[in-house]
């Protein structure tokens, strides 16, 4: 392996790193994945769940691009929920509780079994850089590897510091060392570096928790999938999750120990996510709430641990034990691993190009938490995107780009590049202005062709997809043609769900447009709902029909905005000379150096008036 030239070297074996490596390999690149420990490749270091609102949309997109996350989650999923099931398809989201061991095994089997992926266990100490272009890496033991592109996916390992109460020590994740040398090296480059924090709750010994005292929540039946691929593997056994709540006593314990939390003592300076506050934060900020929900997640089928989601903390261990035992069902609970807060370096994503390559060092790509995001799904999404682009660059092909109206992945990259990461970035559906277009159910329709063109997916997947697409087209045609005449059996069937009788004939499509009618209600009449109609197809058609009016309007809006999205701003544009812009806006534009007017308009603080000033200058 020594002396071998790789197309792409991926540093890190987490969710970003594995997607990057596997995508590059699928596209034909020779890949080296360097990780400090091969056994932890594919490890879920926080809560044992994949998906959720906004996040499952990313997983489905990764899957449509041939990524591994969805398939692995389905091989490891031991409890599924469809969130927002009672709401419309655009905001419906799937979440799987995953068995940590099964998940890791699934990821490792993808990585270890790919013929073009080589593995090397060592920490990376340095990058070889010539003329602002990366040439390779040097590991801790002094081994050099040469390559075209490097994808850095170092997660929270750069300069990581773990806090538990007043104690703090260096670490990349509980039990693992941080990457200090690399952090030092990168800090010497012109990147802007920031500090963020995140936290985890204490984990509990399942055998000491009184499960019969907790609310039980069973998962969905039939089992949903996160991957579009028809799974041939047997699905794991399904187990329940549990719910309990904090109480006034818990709050009192935490309140009287607030000063011992590094979040309040001032030991932690990095910003944490607003949507994922520690329990001490919640109690402090929302003092009027008398209880907070705890979602108790199984760690795995064979695991003896439970993950109590909702009470992450950095209080001292003794306080953790005290407040845990004040909670219903946890009276005798033993903590198996204390909760902790971790602070780490991240690089300002506004310094990245739209292919996730850094602005200052050519062929160097960043993906995952290093860019200030949080969450497995956000990391994996950037991983696949960076892996694809690192490979395209090595193959001398044009970059892969997704607009905000094409994918949540496009929203993610654009948000990072225009907003930066003032706090750890997490996806929400409210971030997507084209939410009705970017649905879980149509991620494959949106992205499979692109994946196919780039060689990211195999023949089998494309065949499955093509047949689904044909079936959708046929079904759309069928409902346009099928006429329901008043007085017929079909009319009577439909009228069961209406408060009036049909007085004239309607096409089935028109009937489906009505809020009272959906495919579920057509089931039972062979003509209205043929026996061979697959639920994936009907779901797709239903969404297209129900949203048609709004989607058409959004399409018009997209066309209108395209002009701004394609109006380029020169990279050396002298914003500092434009006195018509306020000092604040000038500084923002200098920092971001947006590529287009569209991007500039999304930078916070850049006003519509500032945009018209820029347009005046571009015209001049």
């Amino acid at each position: 392996m020594l002396g071998k030239y790789f197309d792409v070297i991926v540093v890190g074996g987490g969710h970003a790193g594995t997607e990057a490596a596997h995508a590059a390999a699928r596209m034909g690149a020779e890949v080296l994945l360097v990780t400090h420990q091969i056994e932890t490749v594919g490890q879920m270091s926080c809560n044992p769940a994949i998906g959720g609102i906004g996040k499952s949309h990313l997983v489905k997109e990764i899957d449509a691009l041939g990524g591994v996350m969805g398939q692995c989650a389905d091989q490891a999923g031991i409890h599924y929920r469809i969130l927002n099931a009672s709401k419309g398809p655009a905001v419906r989201a799937t979440r799987a509780q995953a068995d940590r061991q099964l998940y890791k095994q699934a990821v490792q089997s993808f990585i270890l079994n790919h013929e073009r992926i080589s593995l090397f266990q060592d920490s990376v100490e340095d990058l070889m850089i010539e003329n602002d272009c990366v040439k390779g890496i040097i590991t801790n033991t002094g081994v050099k590897f040469f390559c075209h592109s490097v994808v850095l996916t170092t997660g929270t390992f750069l300069g990581g510091v773990i806090h538990i109460g007043p104690t703090h020590f260096q670490g990349g994740r509980a039990g693992d060392p941080p990457s200090n040398q690399l952090a030092k090296r990168l800090r010497a480059l012109p990147f802007r570096v920031g500090r963020l924090k995140t936290g985890t709750p204490p984990r509990l010994d399942k055998r000491t928790v009184r499960l019969d005292e907790l609310e039980v929540q069973w998962g969905e039946n039939p089992l949903p999938q996160l991957s579009f691929l028809k799974s041939s593997m047997p699905r794991p056994e399904q187990v329940p999750c549990y719910i309990t709540y904090t109480n006034e006593k818990t709050h009192e314990i935490i309140r009287s120990n607030l000063s011992q939390s590094p979040l309040f003592s001032g030991n932690i300076t990095g910003r944490g996510p607003r949507y994922c506050p520690s329990i001490e934060d919640k109690i402090h900020r929302f003092s009027e709430k008398d209880r907070h929900q705890i979602f108790v997640e199984p760690e795995g089928l064979k695991s003896v641990e439970l993950y109590p989601s909702g009470i992450s903390t950095s209080l001292p261990y003794a306080v953790q034990e005290q407040y845990i035992r004040s909670i219903a069902g946890f009276e005798n609970a033993k903590i198996t691993r204390p909760g902790y807060a971790i602070e780490y370096d991240f690089f300002d994503p506004r310094d990245l190009r739209s292919n996730l390559e850094t602005q200052y060092i050519e062929n160097l790509f960043f993906a995952g938490q290093i860019n200030g995001t949080t969450g497995y799904e956000e990391a994996a999404a950037q991983g696949i995107y960076a892996g694809i682009n690192a490979t395209l660059k090595a193959q001398n092909k044009p970059a892969f780009f997704l607009r905000r109206d094409e994918a949540y992945l496009g929203v993610l990259i654009d948000d990072l590049r225009t907003q930066g990461a003032p706090e750890p970035y997490r996806m929400f559906t409210s971030r997507a202005e084209y939410r009705l277009l970017l649905r879980e159910d149509n991620a494959d329709l949106r992205l499979t062709d692109r994946a196919h063109e780039m060689g990211l997916i195999d023949k089998e997947r494309f065949k499955q997809f093509s047949s689904k697409r044909e079936n959708i087209a046929e079904e759309l045609l069928r409902i346009k043609k099928l006429v329901v005449h008043p007085g017929t059996e079909q009319a009577v069937w439909v009228e069961k769900h209406l408060d009036h009788q049909l007085t004239k004939e309607y096409h089935l499509q028109e009937l489906l447009l009505r809020p009272e009618i959906n495919y579920e209600k057509l089931k039972g009449d062979e003509k209205l709902y043929p026996a061979d109609l697959c639920s994936m197809v009907s779901a797709q058609v239903e969404a297209q029909v129900k949203y048609a009016g709004y989607i058409n309007r959004q399409q018009e809006e997209i066309e209108r905005h395209k002009k701004h999205e394609t109006t380029k701003l020169p990279s050396d544009f002298a914003y500092d000379k434009i006195t018509a812009l306020s000092a604040e806006v000038r500084e923002k534009l200098m920092q971001h150096r947006p590529e287009t007017i569209g991007m500039a308009s999304r930078i916070p603080g850049v006003t519509p008036a500032a945009i018209s000033v820029l347009l005046v200058y571009l015209r001049d």
Partner: protein
């Protein structure tokens, strides 16, 4: 690349043309301070009234008056500004202006002072437009409304509606993005009620904004009817009584004649299609007819004038009325008729243009048709784009109410987003992240 600081120093006469007591010439730009220094022989003190004489290169006096210097950015344009307040009078002012042009300033283009103020972010777009409105105001009412917009009253009112919409979006978006959170009090009935209230207030505000647009941009009314129905008399009566501002001198009598009048605050362009017969074979008259047709299709208000003695009662427009067009049927020459015998149509107006009988009723009908209410309190000047934006917001809110009835939260969210975006066109956009920030500060969320 050129920058605005390097741009030329501009000069223009700031007061109205024609003789007057005081005339002002204004300068803006980097060279202003130097010019002031040349005149005063010392550095000007900002915001201080320097009494001075202006003397040309031959040593003869041009004018004497007060020179005030404003140091940028604390000035109207944000640049260094100089105002010379001398004697009014076309000739004197022209000489003063030429003096400054001789000192290195260039003649300002139309609206260039306001443009610079806008580019230097001394005012937002709505305010810049209000300045333009103030200058070109066609009536006293319009001027007053422009002044109110300039003071930010319009933006304030939009902001209040905007904030209520944002509050609703916070609830709806939280409901979608955090379905599992134990969010206290997150229910739909208050959202529905609040949306209904917002709808009512938006409708009222739209009416007010449309008024604003009407008095700012004005409207066009056209007088049509058969020959000898008394169109010209009506035209002349309206023009005379409502103080025609400009009289267009048309080429031939067969062409269109127009005047601008102030109809109780509404700047109205009134067009007369005098002497046109629809069945004419005269080529010149045919051209006139064509022009009349064009004007007809563009007019906001059509006044159909008919001789009350005429038995032919058909009033049919060649192409029908467009959606925004209104018409009033005007029966003329009632002075020649025995009133008792005439059957009155409810929507029609009965006048005698000759002796001004019924003119007040006609004016009321015109104002009503144009959507003008005489209560001008709270009126703000508005542009067509403001009206459009508020209409769009209104559509969004209306759709939102439908979506609640259809029980579709994601479409409700989309409708509210559309409405929010529309108001953002006036006030500036809010990012998704700011929206999320509001959610997080309202609800305790997170695992």
């Amino acid at each position: 690349m050129k920058t605005y600081t390097n741009r030329a120093t501009i000069a223009a006469i700031a007061t109205a043309q024609g003789p007057g007591g005081i005339g002002i010439v204004r300068l803006s730009g980097a060279y202003t301070q130097k010019i002031a220094q040349n005149i005063l022989g010392k550095a000007p003190r900002p915001r201080y009234a320097h009494y001075t004489k202006l003397v040309d290169s031959q040593g003869s006096l041009i004018d004497e008056g007060v020179l005030v210097f404003f140091k940028g950015p604390h000035s109207f344009t944000g640049e260094d500004v100089l105002e010379f307040q001398g004697h009014g009078g076309t000739f004197v002012l022209q000489s003063v202006l030429e003096y400054f042009l001789g000192q290195g300033a260039v003649l300002a283009g139309p609206g260039e002072f306001t443009q610079r103020a806008y580019l230097n972010q001394k005012m937002d777009l709505a305010q810049a437009e209000a300045v333009a409105d103030l200058i070109t105001a066609g009536s006293k009412t319009a001027a007053r409304a422009a002044m109110q917009s300039l003071s930010g009253r319009f933006s304030e009112q939009v902001r209040a509606l905007h904030d209520r919409l944002v509050e609703l979006r916070v609830w709806v978006e939280a409901f979608i993005d955090f379905p599992e959170e134990d969010l206290e009090g997150l229910q739909f009935s208050p959202v529905a009620a609040a949306l209904q209230g917002l709808l009512t207030d938006l409708q009222q505000f739209l009416a007010l904004t449309q008024q604003g647009e009407l008095i700012t941009s004005g409207a066009t009314a056209i007088i049509v009817g058969k020959p000898n129905a008394g169109k010209s008399s009506l035209f002349n009566t309206l023009a005379a009584e409502d103080k025609a501002i400009v009289t267009d001198i048309a080429g031939t009598t067969r062409d269109l004649i127009e005047v601008r009048i102030d109809l109780a605050g509404v700047p109205l362009k009134l067009i007369d299609t005098a002497g046109l017969r629809e069945d004419s074979h005269d080529p010149i008259e045919k051209i006139g007819i064509e022009r009349a047709q064009q004007a007809l299709s563009r007019a906001d208000l059509i006044l159909w004038v008919k001789d009350i003695a005429d038995k032919d009662l058909s009033f049919v427009l060649p192409h029908g009325l467009a959606a925004h067009q209104k018409q009033i049927i005007v029966y003329n020459k009632v002075d020649l008729q025995d009133n008792q015998k005439t059957h009155k149509e409810e929507d029609a107006v009965y006048i005698s243009a000759k002796n001004s009988q019924g003119m007040d009723a006609l004016r009321e009908a015109m104002k009503k048709a144009l959507g003008h209410h005489s209560n001008v309190d709270g009126l703000v000047s508005a542009r067509h784009r403001h009206v459009q934006a508020i209409k769009q917001a209104l559509v969004g809110v209306e759709q939102g109410i439908n979506c609640i009835q259809m029980d579709s939260i994601e479409l409700l969210a989309q409708s509210l987003r559309d409405a929010h975006e529309a108001l953002g066109e006036i006030l500036g956009k809010m990012t998704a992240d700011e929206m999320l920030g509001k959610i997080f500060s309202t609800f305790c969320i997170g695992k």
